[in-house]
């Protein structure tokens, strides 16, 4: 279903491109030896390079380059062996150099692809325009003092990847899927933790609209620094509606930078627009071009982990999972690893059901992530083994599972402690069946009179009499036999 805005003059489609700023996972900053850890006391992770003291020179962190190359390869993109750092000049209180070291005309990574997994199980490719490396700026705090802005430079100089998509996205939902997929890929690669609340992944949203059937792009606006997937989706929906309203009332959309107001769920123009930005890029004379050897790139490529798309494919072929289930399980690497540990050597579809329905349900209820799961993969696997060995029924397994969620216990010992072991001794079940039949002559008469539906009631009575522990299959067989005679 295409996402269209039904205006008074016809249907409009939305054209979206995203610029994602992703903080590179590294110990030290891009051009200095200061730490990158989030949440430190203000200005305690600032070298004189990051504070832009005169005479300080940047020296690039080789690991950050490696991480950016790794990300480029993970996006199936072309890695440029020759790239150049340039200065992007602008004035802001949290940018002590007066310029950001970035890449412009010759970025590290060129065109690539991200595959979106759509809810109906199909997929769609979104183009990556480029990925370049740059420095993060410091952080401005506007709300600590009525008359002043406070500046913390701990973030100043942390390595960023700016990942620019092509204008291939057509709805807020697609933009959300794209962000989640990009985050998933980077988390698999270990190149960005994707934490939007802590600002390690931020997003600028480019939106334009056009009449259905138009092929040229109209003027776009850029909404800056939107910091959650939900807000990105809201900002797009609001901005698209706004632009359609502008066109339909005879106006023109101005190319401008806007801000998203999460409290109102709308975008608004930034006040300072009297001067268009003029960044006056030029190659940074402090830094030589970055030249990478072919075998350096090949080594990084050879060591890439299995990525979500490949893993999803493998789960489908190796474990026979549906595209949807496989997609859910591979979204996070930890979940995929957990699932594989449960599924390996067992009924893989049953394992998927247990992880997706029961475990995810329990974790959601408790507000826990997979890493904090009280039920370990090993123990969930053992539970499946107990079912497979007919030691417990599926119904009892759910009971055992709830105990595991609460106590983190081992299923075998829970079954022993609580005496939940399934009764498979037919003599014992026969006795219970016989008793139920003897005590309920009216129901027996109704069954024998042709009301076979009542068999279910008998199963229930026997299960109740055995505390749910009787093997339901045996109960059914024995009941049939006894009721018929």
């Amino acid at each position: 279903m295409p996402y269209l805005i039904h205006g008074e003059t016809g249907d409009w489609e939305v054209v979206i491109g995203l610029e994602v700023h992703a903080q590179i996972v590294s110990e030290a900053k891009l051009f200095s030896g200061a730490a990158t850890e989030f949440g430190a006391e203000p200005n305690t992770q600032v070298s004189l390079v990051d504070a832009a003291m005169p005479g300080m020179l940047p020296v690039i962190n080789g690991y950050c380059v490696e991480q950016a190359v790794r990300t480029g390869l993970g996006l199936k993109a072309h890695v440029n062996r020759h790239s150049v750092f340039e200065r992007k000049n602008y004035f802001y209180a949290d940018l002590p150099q007066g310029y950001q070291i970035s890449q412009y005309q010759q970025p590290l990574v060129g065109e690539g692809t991200v595959v979106l997994d759509l809810p109906d199980g199909s997929s769609r490719e979104v183009g990556i325009e480029r990925l370049h490396m740059e420095q993060d700026a410091g952080k401005s705090l506007h709300d600590r003092d009525p008359g002043r802005t406070f500046i913390d430079l701990n973030r100043s100089g942390i390595a960023l990847m700016e990942i620019v998509s092509k204008p291939d996205l057509r709805s807020p939902e697609e933009a959300g899927l794209y962000l989640r997929k990009l985050r998933s890929i980077m988390r698999y690669l270990g190149t960005c933790d994707g934490n939007m609340e802590q600002g390690s992944m931020r997003c600028d949203v480019n939106v334009s609209v056009r009449k259905v059937g138009e092929t040229d792009l109209r003027t776009r606006t850029e909404t800056k620094n939107v910091n959650s997937v939900r807000f990105v989706m809201q900002a797009i929906a609001h901005e698209a509606e706004r632009q359609v309203a502008v066109y339909e009332s005879g106006g023109t959309v101005e190319q401008e930078t806007r801000l998203f107001d999460p409290d109102r769920g709308e975008t608004r123009a930034m006040r300072a627009k009297e001067f268009a930005h003029d960044y006056r890029y030029f190659p940074d004379p402090d830094l030589l071009p970055l030249d990478l050897a072919e075998d350096y790139i090949a080594r990084i490529r050879a060591a890439l982990p299995e990525l979500p798309d490949e893993k999803k494919q493998r789960f489908m072929t190796e474990f026979g999972l549906s595209a949807y289930d496989a997609g859910v399980l591979v979204a996070e690497r930890e979940t995929a690893d957990f699932y594989e540990a449960v599924a390996r050597g067992r009924d893989a579809k049953a394992a998927a059901n247990w992880v997706i329905s029961n475990l995810f349900g329990a974790l959601n209820r408790k507000g826990l992530g997979i890493a904090e799961s009280p039920v370990s993969a090993e123990n969930l696997g053992r539970l499946l083994d107990l079912i497979a060995a007919d030691t417990i029924s599926g119904r009892i397994a759910k009971e055992v599972f709830e105990v595991m969620v609460e106590t983190g216990g081992e299923p075998g010992s829970i079954v022993e402690e609580k005496g939940l072991r399934q009764i498979t001794d037919s003599a014992e079940i026969e006795a219970a069946v016989g008793k139920v039949i003897a005590e309920n002559p009216d129901q027996v008469a109704r069954f024998r009179g042709g009301n076979e539906k009542i068999a279910g009631w008998f199963v229930g009575q026997v299960m109740k009499a055995t505390g749910g522990k009787a093997n339901p299959k045996l109960v059914g067989e024995l009941l049939k036999e006894k009721l018929r005679n």
Binding site: N43, V46, N61, C64, H142, D145
Partner: protein, 95 residues
């Protein structure tokens, strides 16, 4: 290339340098002269030469990813006029 007054004014704004109106004419002349001088390089025949940003035959030196610097708040804030609670404090910046 000759710069006009408006361009000098724009450059001054981008660099956050306050230039009195009466100095603009004079500065436009001076800056045009500098540009003219540098533009003499255009007389050199560079056909067939790849654009370059330096003549050094070395590659970009790289650093290891380890924390070797940064725990120096007092030094960092030493020149700040009114630091508070470990922050720089500047006149309100609001978009």
């Amino acid at each position: 290339m000759a710069l006009d007054k408006a361009t000098v004014k724009a450059i001054a704004f981008l660099a956050r340098i306050k230039v009195p109106e009466e100095d603009l004419e004079h500065l436009a002349g001076e800056m045009s002269n500098i540009l003219g001088w540098v533009e003499q390089l255009g007389e050199v025949d560079t056909s067939g030469v790849e654009p370059m940003t330096g003549g050094a035959e070395t590659t970009l030196p790289q650093r290891e990813d380890s924390v070797t610097d940064g725990d120096a708040r007092d030094q960092v804030l030493a020149n700040a006029p009114e630091p508070e609670d470990g922050f720089y404090a500047v006149p309100k910046v609001l978009e």
